[in-house]
């Protein structure tokens, strides 16, 4: 009976070999995939129990981890949740790193990023607990605070950029939320808060400044149309355009009026500069038809439309529609039909004009420091594109100054500072309800700050609010806080 016993031993050998192979497969070959799998509680705890890096504005933390006595070891705290919720995002044990920088720079904050390799190595050697990198932001706390206070309870968003560098000085979205409610260690309360936030029809988790449903830009888009006109070489600021009381959309019976039904010019021949100043609908609808779809798309793209952008949160690309008929083309001239923009993109248009026609890539993180406070990454301003020539930029600036001095944007004016701007009142839906826009920069001849503000319509139908009335004061507060005098 010994031969079959030996053969059986071979069977046993094969069985154990299978186990060794399967173990190798799981613990070596597949291990990384399994570790990174969504919902892997071990990875969550592992990341959560690390000293996560802080997020700082002007050296003061707006998010930091504090040691606790419980199993999770660290509690993530947000010091100014009402101001910075959409900048920081949240870091929850249950829901992981969500939104904002918590999500976009998770690996740096958690300390797992490749750039922290040498620090991790030295942590292992010295036996120090692993810790993440901290982020110093480009945010100007005064501008951010001004935007938050000026927006108040209104839904909307505000973005401020330094046009010379692309530094993001403010990024606000309303309504907001309290990330502390999600980072809490009372997990049942976290669940309740999360469900409440995700089910809230006001969508407080959406960062309206860079993501979410894009907004129709309304008359702020006239800047793009005017830029395309000037760049074409066939128009000067004083070129007269066709702009009557109404404009009949080509191929239709529909007539497009000016805002409030007013005339743009006594002779119905407003110049390009006048059209920008009073935000003339009829002349811009006509102008869009003259310039054509391709020219407008090219100009839009030169300002950054359609191109992905990470600041490091990703910004939804703005849209200039295609395959337009003539009526639709005319409507895009006043920022209607299917033109869609983020407030970030609107701010980038102003910033490009302010910066002599050159768009700087917006960024939010100024410096990355490891736990020894050594700077391991420092942001360099980067040119993104040339949107318009410096001459066009200067001409647009002049027109925008007129808007604030004597046109539709007078409530953005600051004493002693030249402000350039453009208002917008963007209809959406069929009920006539409209969002209020303002974008601009200051000081006009030496720009330090460019802003874009949108205040969403308070009601589902036309409440009589214009960009000049509702959005311009918010922009004014931000410019006031951002301009050095």
């Amino acid at each position: 009976m010994n031969t079959p016993v030996r053969r059986l031993a071979l069977v046993v050998f094969a069985m154990f070999t299978a186990l060794l192979l399967s173990t190798t497969w799981i613990q070596f070959v597949q291990a990384d995939d399994l570790r990174d799998r969504a919902g892997n509680r071990r990875t969550l705890i592992e990341n959560y129990s690390r000293d996560r890096g802080a997020i700082l504005v002007d050296g003061n933390p707006i998010a930091s981890s504090e040691p606790t006595d419980d199993e999770l070891e660290w509690l993530r705290r947000y010091q100014q949740p009402s101001r910075y919720a959409h900048v920081t995002g949240y870091y929850s044990f249950t829901y992981g790193a969500g939104l904002g920088l918590e999500r976009a720079e998770d690996s740096l904050l958690a300390g797992t990023d490749d750039s922290l390799f040498y620090q991790r190595l030295s942590d292992v050697v010295t036996g120090r607990p692993a810790s993440g990198a901290s982020l110093e932001l480009t945010i100007d706390p005064d501008v951010q605070a001004a935007a938050v206070e000026a927006l108040g309870d209104r839904r909307g968003a505000a973005v401020a950029l330094d046009p010379r560098t692309g530094e993001i000085l403010a990024m606000v979205s309303r309504p907001s939320f309290d990330p502390n409610a999600l980072s809490s260690h009372r997990l049942s309360a976290v669940d309740e808060a999360y469900v409440a936030l995700t089910e809230d029809p006001a969508r407080p988790l959406t960062n309206r400044a860079i993501a979410g449903d894009l907004y129709p830009p309304g008359s702020t888009f006239k800047l793009v149309v005017a830029a395309a006109a000037l760049e074409s070489g066939e128009y000067e600021p004083d070129t007269e355009l066709e702009g009557g009381l109404t404009y009949t959309l080509p191929g239709t019976e529909t007539t497009l009026p000016n805002f409030g039904g007013a005339a743009c010019d006594p002779e119905d021949r407003p110049t390009l500069a006048e059209s920008v100043q009073v935000s003339c609908n009829t002349s811009f609808a006509w102008l869009a038809g003259e310039l054509g779809e391709d020219a407008l798309r090219q100009q839009s793209e030169a300002f950054g439309f359609g191109e992905p952008l990470e600041v490091p949160m990703s910004v939804t690309p703005s849209i200039y529609p295609d395959e337009l008929d003539d009526a639709q083309l005319a409507l895009t001239g006043i920022g209607q039909f299917e033109v869609r923009e983020t407030p970030m993109q609107v701010a980038m248009i102003s910033a490009a004009i302010a910066n002599g026609g050159v768009t700087m890539t917006p960024y939010l993180v100024e410096e990355v420091r490891n736990s020894d406070l050594e700077v391991i990454e420092s942001a360099e301003p980067r040119t993104r594109s040339r949107a318009v020539s410096s001459q066009t930029a200067q001409q647009l600036t002049d027109m925008m100054e007129l808007v604030v001095e004597q046109g539709s944007g007078q409530s953005a004016a600051l004493p002693g500072v030249e402000v350039a701007g453009k208002t917008g009142t963007a209809e959406y839906g069929d009920s006539g309800a409209a969002h209020a826009w303002f974008t601009g920069f200051a000081p006009a001849e030496d720009p330090q700050i460019a802003v874009a503000v949108i205040v969403e319509s308070a009601t589902d139908n036309w409440a009589g609010e214009t960009g000049g009335q509702v959005a311009a004061p918010v922009a004014r507060a931000m410019l006031d806080a951002g301009v050095e005098r």
């Binding site: 009976m1 173990t23 597949q30 399994l34 892997n40």
Partner: protein
């Protein structure tokens, strides 16, 4: 975690050395490893050494030493590796169970380790009793049919009302007052004794008579009886107790022993065919079998249990070298101290640690099979094969289930899993193997003479 060094003495100097000194040294090594692991777990998880640590180490050392002394007195020539291997595995199991106990506020499992230590003491005492009372394993052959009856009774015990208990959908447990017990664990020993006794008497009929078809020696129809009985028994377990693992274990045990007894490959082919048809049938009939198969193919299948997935993530977390004892999160996986204890080891000791554990098992099985080869009587040979193979098969079924070689079926991991019945059964298996190996390695000059048994053996020889 290298634990055992091969002993060059086992075969060559069999007549000269008993191997007891080597056993003692290996036992010191085994208890030493367990002690280090125990201390490491306490220091890592709680940061301190409770006073009773040394008590526990002392008790465990005393138990191992006691068994060693029993071997010196009653089974001088027993295999010197079996006891240290079982001691090491049992000790590591205790450490891991204690480690899961230490998790604050999780599962409410604290106290499992002390209960397991109690069971360990009982099981090792039982092993000593077997060695003391059973002077010659051949005596068991007299109880072949009593063993069969006992096996049936033990297997069917959980089906009785009042004392039978369903746990996680399988009806494997009996509960009397505060004590619960899994009689199936002991049943496998009784069944192995029965198979060995039965097959040693009928092997000639089973192997020699029959027709050849396609190169296979097919048995006569009436000789098919026993294998059909064994098959229906395992199907019965499957249907009545809804326990895939035990069913597979019993049937595999029978086919392996039948093959060794008859040296006929046809039995394996027939056995595998019967098993395959049974498995397909079970898959078609039972939803819990279907979900096991689904999870085997895709552990992350939606709307299914995430037990397999959690085990895999635990193993992945351990990676090659493991998180370190006390540094992982094994308690996230369900049954981290019983069915899934191997995943807990994989998480904290890594692939390297699991390899070492598997090697310990492989070595244990190898010593058992070597005992079978060295055994001079057919009954001892078959019993040793059967007992060793159950250990191998059980490890394969549970570890293979966790690591997705086969669909997961609930089985205890020998010596490691929390649970008294399993410990008791496995220590008795080790005691029986020790007893058989003692007879196998005993020099002729010291061979024990038992006229009645020898006569029975002679009477059977000419058949």
């Amino acid at each position: 975690m290298s634990t055992t060094t091969p002993t060059p003495s086992t075969v060559t100097s069999l007549a000269v050395r008993s191997g007891r000194t080597i056993e003692m040294l290996l036992l010191v090594l085994a208890v030493g490893i367990v002690t280090l692991a125990y201390v490491a777990v306490n220091l890592t998880v709680t940061g301190e050494l409770p006073a009773d640590v040394w008590w526990h180490v002392g008790i465990y050392s005393a138990l191992a030493a006691g068994l060693h002394v029993v071997l010196r007195l009653r089974a001088r020539y027993a295999d010197p590796l079996l006891l240290p291997l079982a001691t090491l595995l049992n000790g590591l199991g205790l450490v891991m169970i204690h480690r899961i106990d230490l998790v604050p506020g999780q599962l409410g499992t604290s106290g499992v380790a002390s209960r397991q230590l109690l069971w360990t003491g009982l099981a090792m005492a039982m092993a000593a009793a077997v060695l003391v009372l059973l002077r010659d394993h051949r005596v068991l052959r007299r109880y072949t049919y009593i063993a069969m009856a006992l096996g049936f009774v033990l297997l069917l015990l959980p089906m009785l009302p009042f004392i039978g208990e369903t746990v996680n959908g399988s009806r494997l447990w009996i509960r009397i007052g505060p004590f619960s017990f899994q009689p199936g664990e002991l049943a496998k020993i009784a069944v192995a004794v029965f198979f060995a006794g039965y097959l040693v008497s009928t092997r000639d009929a089973l192997s020699l008579v029959g027709r050849r078809v396609l190169g296979l020696q097919l048995p006569r129809a009436r000789d098919l009886g026993p294998i059909l009985v064994a098959w229906s028994l395992s199907v019965l377990i499957l249907v009545l107790q809804r326990d895939l693992g035990s069913s597979l274990l019993f049937f595999g045990l029978f086919v392996a022993m039948l093959y060794v007894a008859t040296e006929r490959t046809s039995w394996i082919v027939i056995g595998l065919a019967l098993f395959a048809s049974g498995a397909v049938l079970a898959w078609r009939l039972f939803s819990h079998v279907q979900s096991r198969v689904t999870l085997w193919l895709d552990p992350f299948a939606p709307d299914q249990s995430d037990q397999v997935a959690k085990g895999l993530m635990g193993l992945a977390h351990g990676g090659i070298f493991g998180a370190g004892l006390g540094n992982g999160y094994p308690y996230i996986t369900y049954y981290a101290n019983s069915d899934y204890i191997v995943a807990s080891f994989g998480e904290e000791l890594g692939m390297v640690g699991l390899f070492a554990l598997l090697m310990l098992y492989a070595l244990l099985v190898e010593r058992g099979l070597r005992t079978a080869i060295g055994s001079r009587d057919g009954f001892g040979k078959l019993l040793a094969v059967g007992l060793s193979f159950t250990v191998a098969l059980q490890v394969f079924v549970i570890v293979g289930g966790i690591t997705r070689v086969i669909p997961l079926t609930g089985l205890t991991t020998p010596f490691l899993s929390a649970g008294g019945s399993s410990l008791l059964a496995n220590w008795i298996i080790v005691a029986l193997l020790l007893r058989i190996s003692d007879a196998a390695r005993r020099p002729i000059s010291e061979r024990r003479q038992d006229p009645s048994i020898d006569a029975a053996e002679r009477a059977e020889a000419p058949r």
